[in-house]
Symmetry: C2
């Protein structure tokens, strides 16, 4: 007796041909993201090229009750792309067209497989850029699905604030457009933001209308170092409260800074708690912002305030920051990393980060701290010892850090999403009734439960 998935595969192959594959290597590639969740291979991988093809695959899978798990670049840190119940991995990485750029309106429309670096390369000669940068060269579709952000969010917002509209393929195969091109609209339910952050559980995002920004006339970056982590955190809080419109403000603790110095060859820096700043604006306003920030940092004992105004020097600094995760892994060869992603109101940031540091010390594990602290968001990369109880010890530490963030009025994830690993925190964070409303929306849009099952919700 043939399984439902075999019938679905046969039907999909009819129109995708060789773009539907059961090749073992490709199935393995689609069995995991960049996380420590146990890999599970899909029964097949479908490489689609259009929204309409997404709809056709979904309609078939819906008929047969077969799971569909969207896959972009596989850079998820929370198991989003792992087909925990098998089925079809719907690969959008070939949907790489920039469909339109409206330079005068500072918006564009892209297919979901376009990555943010590819988009920015495409935009550069038009004086525009897309600011959301989660570090990895993730696909824009995946970034929408996980409500991603990154270093620039403190100034330019997360992907949520930079999406104007979507094309979404629904579970039953219908393809709808949400939102539009205008900057604001008061007409009807905000389906765009319902799909943003829904992690592939309500529909498959196939096209995105994005807001763009003008490349600032001037930019400068700076690095400064502190005797204590507390001083660095207090500097962040003071800078934000002073209303300085920083483009980026990133914290690295002494362990993370040591890792970055080794990995990225940052000369002249010491393994001390460190802030990276970036300022955008006109020449005059950048200078003014920088002076204000330097004064505040100085009042908290900052040393070695150094400027990087050249493009190359700035790129080196931010490359080091973006490689922080790999720098961590390089600290302990053979260890895997679990990235925590807690976020708290900024007034509670010192408490959250210093508390996390205590928890790390008590755990005996190595876990550098790095974060988008202007938003109150920080990561610890918990290095998992290759020992039988390693993963359990790492998760135990993760839970402590999350529990403190929630107790301080925060969230278990600022930007990585829920996926598999954070499902258990959702009821505490949102409450059972609110979670029940989310489930009812899920049931309405995906009555057969084929869309990325096993994510966001327990069971």
């Amino acid at each position: 007796m043939s399984r439902p998935v075999d019938a679905a595969i046969a039907a999909i192959r009819e129109f995708l041909g060789e773009r539907l594959t059961t090749n073992a290597g490709l199935r393995e590639h689609h069995s995991h993201g960049q996380d420590t969740q146990p890999p599970v291979s899909p029964d097949a991988v479908a490489f689609i090229e259009t929204s309409e093809e997404a709809g056709r695959v979904l309609a078939i899978c819906n008929t047969h009750g077969v799971p569909v798990v969207p896959f972009g670049t596989g850079s998820s840190l929370e198991g989003h792309v792992t087909p925990v119940r098998g089925g079809i991995s719907l690969d959008l990485s070939r949907m790489t067209q920039v469909l339109e750029v409206n330079a005068a309106d500072m918006d564009c429309r892209v297919q979901a497989g376009v990555t943010h670096r590819t988009l920015n390369a495409h935009l550069r000669d038009q004086g525009l850029f897309f600011p959301v940068d989660p570090g990895a060269d993730a696909s824009i579709g995946g970034m929408c699905a996980t409500r991603a952000s990154g270093t620039n969010a403190v100034r330019y917002g997360t992907i949520r604030e930079n999406v104007l509209g979507l094309t979404v393929a629904l579970a039953d195969g219908r393809v709808i457009r949400t939102g539009g091109r205008v900057r604001k609209s008061a007409t009807g339910y905000d389906l765009t933001h319902l799909f943003v952050g829904s992690e592939g559980t309500l529909g498959v995002i196939t096209e995105i209308q994005l807001r763009l920004h003008g490349i600032p006339e001037a930019a400068s970056a700076a690095i400064c170092q502190f005797e204590t982590l507390g001083d660095a955190v207090e500097t962040v809080i003071a800078v934000m409260q002073a209303g300085i419109p920083v483009a980026r403000i990133e914290l690295l603790d002494d362990v993370q800074m040591g890792a970055c110095i080794a990995y990225s060859k940052l000369e002249d820096a010491l393994p001390l708690p460190t802030l990276f700043f970036e300022f955008h604006g006109t020449e005059a306003s950048v200078a003014e912002q920088a002076t204000s920030a330097e004064e505040i940092a100085g009042s908290f004992g900052a040393r070695g305030f150094r400027w990087a105004t050249g493009q190359e020097e700035r790129n080196k600094l931010w490359r080091a920051r973006h490689d922080a995760y790999w720098a961590c892994l390089a600290l302990k060869p053979g260890h895997k990393g679990i990235a925590t992603d807690a976020i708290v109101p900024i007034s509670r940031l010192a408490e959250a980060i210093l508390g996390a540091q205590d928890d790390i010390a008590a755990s005996g594990l190595t876990a550098p701290i790095v974060g988008h602290v202007g938003d109150g968001n920080f990561h610890t990369v918990i290095l998992v010892p290759p020992e039988p109880d390693g993963i359990a010890r790492a998760w135990e530490l993760d839970k402590k850090i999350v529990a403190r963030a929630l107790a301080l009025g925060g969230s278990c994830s600022g930007e990585h999403g829920v996926g598999i690993g954070k499902r258990e925190f959702l009821e505490v964070e949102h409450g059972a009734e609110t979670l029940a409303v989310m489930r009812s929306v899920k049931t309405t849009l995906d009555p057969r439960g084929i869309l990325n099952p096993g994510k966001i919700f327990l069971n």
Copy 2:
């Protein structure tokens, strides 16, 4: 035989006592907003004071199948508060507590009946302000429900970008909290933004967690006038494309300016197409922004660029702008006003506004144009002659202006909402399938259809 509404009224009176009223004057007061929709009185008005009371009223009305229509200050321009099918007008105007202000985190929590001016008066001595200002002193709950914005949105965003979380009473009486206090979160569906703009049709918003902003160190306003409307519009487009972070940029056409001069005693101004600017920042950045804007305006032939840096002078200018609607009505005593609210991508703004001016001329009606042009949003206040065919002629003109905006990739409403009058445009704007998804969400959250029936959707 008693009607279901009588049973509901009796049950609500049991716990609200005299705060449930069938007084004819109060029912009449709750029969309409500030629009030209035919008034319909509710069967009763319930003055609630807590979220829990909202839930109890809703649970009773849901049991009896009785409509519930939320009412804040009654400043809606699209019939939102009119109980077209009778039932209970749920008045939140007594929910006026500012529940908390977290100055360090720049957020606060308010009950839904707090108005934006009351909130700003409350915040002033803390150096903070809430930027969303739709002109009328609307309630924050009503502003959330209609996805309101106003003059500051070009810099600070609409209410959508300034809401962190909500308390919502659902149709069945459950009271849930959505969102939280953190600046961003990637955990679960964005129910907050599903309720924002849902116009009371998915739930009743009873409390709001808001983002606040620091009062800028410096602010200055300016007015400049142009020979032609086209020159004024081209100036707006050029200022936005130059990336000048204007706090406000408002356009008034010659007719509107004439009305404002008469109504608000604006000395030294002529009845010409006019731009009002406001800049926020440090002293130096405000001066720099203003110089850049003045240069651009000059290149389009602006005359009489005049500065208002004092608080009193600025207030006078913006009071005149906020009174534009009343200035229009004063132009033609005995006429009512229908406000259009079209929005287009900014590159199409000249086409949309000059086209609207042609339509107005062809209609033979008076309809001043005023708008939040930095967002591409503009209003015409169509003055309805007190004649038998007056309202029909006004709606005909309204439809032409909307149709052009939609054809230019725009939306029928930038900030007033759909209510009753714009329902017919929604299918063209969003498509039938997208509208069907909105309806399915509606049915899930309000299966008996008691929440503000007759709004957003036709039928």
